[in-house]
């Protein structure tokens, strides 16, 4: 059985929670990735929503770290500025917002206010074509790296969508990939890939040559189950959204296990607003034991997270601010938990 509670101590400590579930407007609906403007003043949270939901539930919500809300853009559809299976979001050095769509096989570009500028990309297996683009990140040269998931490779494009190069192929050997998802880049421009289907993180040179791999399948410390996101801080520490294990793990710059966290969400400002006007529900919530000691149907942490609201459920994407605070986006709980260094 998975452990419950707070295995934190030496590296990260919980700060607060941002966001809540809403189908429209202020809030998130199955957030699948987040990005931050260059000055850190604006967060862009990409809501995946789902096929049958109302069109405007599929959106990007703009807010700041304190929960101040600036509006939304995007909706479900196939027109300009619309999405079907939005998956990744990133901001370039000109504060343009890029969103991948793993169904439409394209990248949509917006300005910092969310006005649609253009989209590029086409479906296929040839170089420069896409099949299930998911994770997206900008490298040190302002080129965009995309996890071309179903082609099992990483592709590099200019900000204008011109193909630069690709690396990786299907497999489980060094440098091979299986449905890669999240991407990260360190200070040296090295590329980190959440090699989802292989339960590991792989590290590549800026040119795409294999450097190292970290982790293997499992639930123990340093092991991963379908990692979805990876990011590297300025000191080289590697944070992994260990999605299938419903946790975040911290690795040292050389890949050694440092810490694992299961989440400890509290009420966000938006949640407090909701409970403040729904007093009957707030009262019942207060009287409830939200951390019941129960026997779970199976030992999949997914099950535990479905019962214990404060724990991560679907930790999918990671974001760092200038002060090294870690923002963890949780798809199934529609929120972001913020952690900081425990100095």
């Amino acid at each position: 059985m998975a452990t419950k509670g707070l295995e934190q101590g030496q590296f990260l400590r919980y700060v607060r929670t941002v966001g809540m579930t809403t189908m429209r407007g202020r809030g998130f609906y199955y957030p699948i990735d987040s990005a931050m403007s260059n000055d850190g003043g604006r967060l862009y949270v990409l809501s995946r929503s789902f096929e049958r939901a109302v069109s405007d539930s599929m959106r990007v919500t703009m807010l700041n770290e304190d929960g101040e809300y600036f509006g939304v853009f995007g909706s479900a559809g196939i027109g300009d500025g619309q999405f079907r299976w939005p998956c990744g979001i990133a901001v370039n050095d000109q504060n343009r917002v890029f969103v991948t769509d793993e169904y439409l096989n394209r990248v949509s570009v917006f300005n910092e206010s969310g006005e649609f500028l253009k989209h590029w990309g086409s479906e296929g297996e040839m170089e420069g074509m896409l099949n299930g683009p998911s994770g997206i990140v900008f490298d040190r040269d302002n080129n965009v790296l995309i996890a071309d998931s179903r082609n099992h490779r990483i592709q590099k494009f200019t900000s204008d969508g011109e193909f630069v190069k690709s690396f990786g192929e299907y497999g489980s050997g060094d440098g091979c990939l299986n449905l890669p998802w999240g991407l990260g880049v360190n200070q040296e421009g090295e590329i980190f890939v959440a090699d989802w289907g292989n339960d590991r993180i792989q590290r590549f040179t800026p040119n795409g040559e294999f450097v190292a791999k970290y982790g293997s399948s499992g639930r123990e410390e340093g092991e991963f189950t379908r990692p979805a996101g990876v990011i590297v801080n300025q000191e080289g520490y590697i944070y992994v959204a260990d999605w299938g294990n419903e946790r975040v793990q911290v690795l040292s710059p050389d890949g050694e296990f440092v810490q694992k966290i299961r989440g400890q969400a509290t009420n966000s400002e938006w949640a407090e607003d909701f409970l403040g006007v729904n007093v009957e529900e707030a009262g019942a919530r207060k009287r409830a034991n939200l951390e019941p000691d129960i026997e779970y149907f199976n030992d999949d942490p997914h099950e535990e997270s479905s019962h214990i609201e404060k724990l991560f459920w679907g930790p999918v994407s990671l974001m760092l601010d200038a002060e090294d605070r870690l923002f963890i986006t949780e798809t199934n709980r529609h929120r972001i938990q913020v952690f900081e260094r425990d100095n």
């Binding site: 809540m20 939901a53 979805a228 529900e281 009287r287 129960i294 679907g314 798809t331 199934n332 929120r335």
Partner: protein, 479 residues
Amino acid sequence: MPESQIELIAHLARRAGFGATREELEEYGKIGYEGTVDKLLETSSPQWMSEYLIRRYHPDESSMLAGLSGLEAWLYRMITTDAPLLEKMTLFWHGIFATGYPKVLNAKPLSDQIRMFKKYAMGDFRDLLVEMARDPAMIIWLDNQQNHKDSINENFGRELLELFSMGVGNYTEDDVKECARAFTGWTIGNCEYMELRSARDSDWPYGRISWHYEFDAQDHDDGEKEFLGRKGNFNGEDIVEIICEQEATARFIARHIYHFFVADEPPVPQWPYQPPRDPEAINQIVQAYFDSNYDIKSVMKFVFNSDFFKSEDCWYEKVKSPAELVTGVMRLTESVDRPQYEHSSRQLRMQYMGQTLSNPPSVEGWDGGTTWIDTGALVERMNFASEELGKLETPGSKELFSKIAFEGNGEVEADRIIDICLKHLGTINVKDDTRSKLVDYASENGVIRVIDQEIDDLGKEKIAGVVKLIASTPEFQRA
């Protein structure tokens, strides 16, 4: 293996599964009919499509904010399973212990209930009944959280006897009350909060929270009860034990099994007034129930190997439910090789045909049989099957074109086209009249030629036309 044996195995595959491709049937043929029964009863590795893969591409099928998400996840399971009987048994129990979203208003516990059915579907019937009584979705569905020591609510106790085990006429009103007393204190954790969220359809602030069973000893009536002629300080488990000992329970479950797996019976409310279609078959299933000490797997093995099940008299005597039809069609197309955006629309089509899983029309579930067929539903059923099976680019269609091309260069006789298509679609035996019309259609549709072991696009369209027509036949729409 003689074609007659393949045809018998095809009958088994339609009933103990969702039909099978010709290739699957030929594989089954290698181990024979009884070997196939044993293989279908084996359920150790049911899925090649992982939970992780589905959750990645369909986050709503992971946490289930929406009412139909669990149904979509289940549909993936049915389409992609390597253990089709396990899914059919789960469908079977869901139809009897029918629990619906409009009252539960939390898709995760409903999905958890389906998962529970799957775990206990082919085990000891006592375990299944106890787990069903502890199931949080069932507790809310039948108000057992309101069944208190000092103020009983009979709803669950009554349905346990009437709809889930014995059937009307086999117990008294006093038995219902005593049964309800035994289940007092069987509730869900954080009942006040969860019930309130459910009543308000609230998923705020952070989405749905799964429910869990809780036994409230303070609220449980542990006094003496008299139930079905027995006295004791019975709790829920004791009640289930007594229920399972009853011949009425064995007969009720036997008739359900016959109705679902062998041949359509009238709707359940008519059972007290209308004898079974085959009373001797029911007697034999009852005996298998007691001989196996209520082991459902053993009962099913007996049924599938019985003469009354194998008899051609009951072939095509069941109308496929929408769930069976949609699943069977998609399995034949072999096109669901990964999570797909289009998946959501398939469950919608199932709804249009008249069945929304986890949303039965009442606590009695679906009547089944010919009630699946009305004008609108029939058109929807034929359209869906024709559209999906008529797509030229699916692996299933490509396989069919290869089989026809394998006939060799030149014209392929209409009669031969029909033969190949009927076998390809699961080895369907159509009536002579149906066959004659199919041949006429294929003949009038124009010649299909194989040139250099290939069929051109026009030829493929013609073959697809035949497939669409077969998908509309009564034999295809039945099991």
